[in-house]
């Protein structure tokens, strides 16, 4: 069991790094989809003893929404736009990778300093969650394309979800579903907005949206 958790965590970390290192937008979307699926599997493995029905249901919904619906929505938005690659990000790919490695260190350091009220099955889950959140934020601020920013938002959300999953397992079902629904709607609305931005401006570079300022 522990072996599988380790493998899962390593794979999740690698998806983050891959996201920071690749320029092709469709590849980025697929990486985030993979991350969503892996995250859906995480509670099935990380739980103690028998898996309650509630956790199984949530896992299934997570995998369906994050691993299939979101990528489908975003790939559709990507197809309507003429953007294929993230050109000239504010922070280059190699630099982003190096920064990410630094962030792993930071996340481990922080994770080690947080006193946890409940012992965890793997001490790496909290650093993983923190690292994923930081990667998401980094993607949001360092990339120009609207789609990459949505991906950053999703990755950040994934990190928060991973954190909640391991530490706050007693959240009522209703809230979890509500949260998931909100995130789903957010991505949906963002997708529509990207569609409109592309139609209106013929590009989806958010740094060129500068009409409104003081």
């Amino acid at each position: 069991m522990e072996l599988w958790i380790d493998i899962l965590i390593v794979l999740l970390i690698l998806t983050n790094l891959k996201l920071m290192g690749s320029s092709r937008l469709s590849a980025c979307i697929r990486v985030v989809a993979l991350q969503g699926i892996l995250l859906g599997i995480l509670p099935l493995i990380a739980g103690h003893g028998q898996i309650p029905f509630r956790v199984m249901l949530l896992s299934a919904i997570t995998i369906a929404v994050k691993g299939m619906v979101f990528p489908w929505l975003l790939l559709r938005a990507l197809r309507t736009s003429n953007a294929r690659r993230e050109m000239e990000p504010f922070i280059g790919y190699s630099t982003s990778m190096l920064l990410s490695v630094g962030l792993i260190g930071l996340a481990i350091w922080m994770g080690g300093r947080l006193p946890l009220p409940v012992p965890l099955k793997s001490p790496l889950v909290v650093p993983l969650a923190l690292f994923t959140i930081m990667t998401g934020l980094l993607a949001i601020i360092s990339r120009r394309k609207a789609i990459t920013q949505v991906l950053g938002y999703l990755v950040m959300e994934n990190g928060i979800y991973a954190f909640g999953l391991t530490l706050a397992q007693k959240e009522p079902m209703l809230i979890e579903l509500g949260t998931l629904l909100d995130v789903f709607m957010a991505v949906f609305v963002m997708g529509i907005t990207i569609f409109h931005i592309n139609r209106e401006f013929d590009h989806i570079d958010t740094d060129l949206l500068t009409t409104l300022r003081d």
Binding site: P115, L116, P117, V118, P119, I133, L137, I140, A146, Q149, Y153, M156, E157, I160, F163, G164, L167, A168, K170, E171, P172, L174, I175, G178, T179, L181, D182, M185, A186, V189, M190, T193, H196, I197, E200, F201, T206, L209, T211, L212, D214
Partner: protein, 501 residues
């Protein structure tokens, strides 16, 4: 009862999509707004029973903000009635850049508007931190299409910034919620439910470190929605590009919802004996917001942006009030009421000016008092109210906060507060007086389209355009002179929950 309050607008919203005739849709809007207001009034008279195992419950702060939201929504929907009938639904020219654009469909607009009301109501009545989060994020999502009502580049840009910045901010609040959940994990099998009352009860046992981290993240997260600087960057864009009806609701009602969410956490912190931690942070954020607002109000070129920055200033004052504590807590609650109605009124009047001048530039527009006699007077009155001159309500609340600061011996804070208020006063005064006085200028070349001939006219303006702001003006005037006893009672109780008063 509580469930009805939420479900009424939601069900009506779905019905909106199916109703063909525009007149029926608009009637439904008014009916729902009125019914919501009546239900809210009943709740004020007689506290309704909790619903869903205590997840939905009206306490003093909830009641206060529900009242503001419902009342403002009623007045604004009256205005919307006139606004929608005056709107040109075909292709038309943008008056700033000259390209053609259309509006989104009216049914979608009204649907989102009612959903927005429903979600704001949900924020005010939720007691569960998870549910509050879900509701606050839902307000963002339902209001995004409202900002993109006029389908053109600028509103699209504003919508994108609004969704992106607020969603990321609120995602941080979700992390804060999880931190709170960790703080309330007493042992492996002993979790305190995430209800405000339960958390307050077992506050002394919470993990302090995690609680502090939770507060920080929730403050930053919901603070983004509230428009606290430096997370306010979406606010001027969204407020200036959305239709005035929506700007009024965003400023008057939505900001309060985010503020309420922060108050809920502060309640728990106070109960855990960590009130001072949050207060210091809120004073800092509050003063910084006022500073940013002052810097951008001076020589502001767009009058709707000016109002938006004024909202940043006032959420700064709210935050400052809670931060100073003691009497200022009461002041902050009162200020929330006054600011909502004043800013709602100002945005509605701004909508009238925009409709007549087809221009948002503070430098071009002259002679509002001559062109629009009633809106002009309301514009000046609203300005006097918002900068805090007597006899309007804001004067009273700002004074209460100042007095509390002085009583507490926080002289530096008090001096900064006064200084920033006076800079904002100067900044807004120059703009507003230049706009309202003088010979009319900046009017569009062709004569302004006549207001709908079927509606009543008051002083040459459509009745539905001036009566709603007049009502709001009356309300803030009364609040400046006399605060009704029930309101006073609720304000006091709300202040007590955050350990102030």
């Amino acid at each position: 009862m509580i469930l009805t309050l939420i479900l009424l607008p939601v069900v009506a919203a779905i019905a909106m999509l199916g109703i063909r005739p525009a007149a029926v849709r608009r009637c439904l809007l008014i009916v729902v707004a009125a019914a919501h207001a009546i239900l809210t009034a009943c709740a004020w008279v007689n506290l309704p029973a909790p619903a869903l195992d205590g997840w939905l419950l009206l306490d003093a702060p909830g009641l206060l903000f529900l009242g503001i939201t419902s009342a403002l929504f009623l007045v604004v929907s009256l205005y919307a009635l006139g606004y929608l009938s005056r709107e040109d639904w075909g292709k038309r020219q943008d008056f700033e850049e000259g390209f053609l654009f259309t509006n989104s469909r009216e049914s979608v607009f009204l649907c989102c508007l009612l959903l927005f009301l429903g979600m704001m109501t949900l924020v005010t009545v939720s007691q569960h931190f998870g549910l509050i989060w879900v509701a606050v994020e839902a307000t963002t999502l339902t209001s995004a299409p409202l900002i993109y009502f006029h389908r053109h580049r600028r509103s699209l840009e504003a919508t994108w910034k609004y969704i992106m910045i607020c969603s990321v901010g609120i995602a941080l609040a979700l992390l804060g919620n999880f931190f709170l959940a960790v703080a309330s994990t007493l042992s492996e099998n002993n979790h305190v439910p995430m209800l405000v009352s339960n958390l307050i009860q077992s506050a002394p046992q919470l993990h302090i470190l995690w609680l502090k981290a939770a507060f920080l993240f929730l403050l930053v997260g919901y603070g983004t929605k509230l428009g606290l600087a430096p997370m306010h960057t979406w606010l001027p864009d969204a407020h200036s590009e959305s239709p005035s009806v929506i700007s009024a609701l965003l400023s008057g009602a939505l900001l309060n919802c985010a503020f309420l969410a922060i108050l809920r956490v502060q309640q728990v912190c106070v109960a855990a004996g960590q009130g001072a931690f949050g207060q210091d942070l809120m004073v800092g954020f509050g003063l910084f917001s006022m500073l940013i607002a002052a810097a951008f109000i001076l020589r502001q070129a767009d009058f709707k942006r000016m109002l938006a920055y004024s909202s940043v200033e006032h959420v700064g004052i709210l935050s400052l009030g809670v931060g100073i504590g003691a009497g200022a807590g009461y002041g902050a609650m009162l200020h929330a009421v006054n600011h909502s109605f004043t800013k709602g009124m100002l945005f509605l009047v701004a909508g009238n000016i925009l409709a007549a001048y087809h221009n948002k530039s503070t430098r071009d527009i002259k002679g509002v008092l001559t062109v629009l006699p009633i809106s002009g007077i309301l514009w000046v009155a609203g300005f006097l109210a918002i900068i805090g001159s007597p006899p309007f309500g804001i004067f009273l609340s700002e004074l209460t906060i100042l007095k509390a600061a002085l009583d507490q011996g926080q002289f530096v804070v008090a001096i900064c507060y006064l200084l920033l208020l006076s800079i904002i006063f100067i900044g807004m005064a120059t703009i507003v007086f230049q706009m309202s006085q003088g010979r009319p200028a900046g009017l569009p070349a062709e004569a302004a389209t006549n207001p709908d001939s079927s509606s009543f006219l008051i002083g040459g303006e459509s009745a539905l355009a001036v009566i709603p702001p007049m009502i709001l003006c009356a309300v803030i005037l009364i609040l400046g002179v006399y605060i009704p006893l029930p309101l006073q009672h609720v304000l006091k109780q709300a202040a007590v929950t955050i350990g102030a008063y």
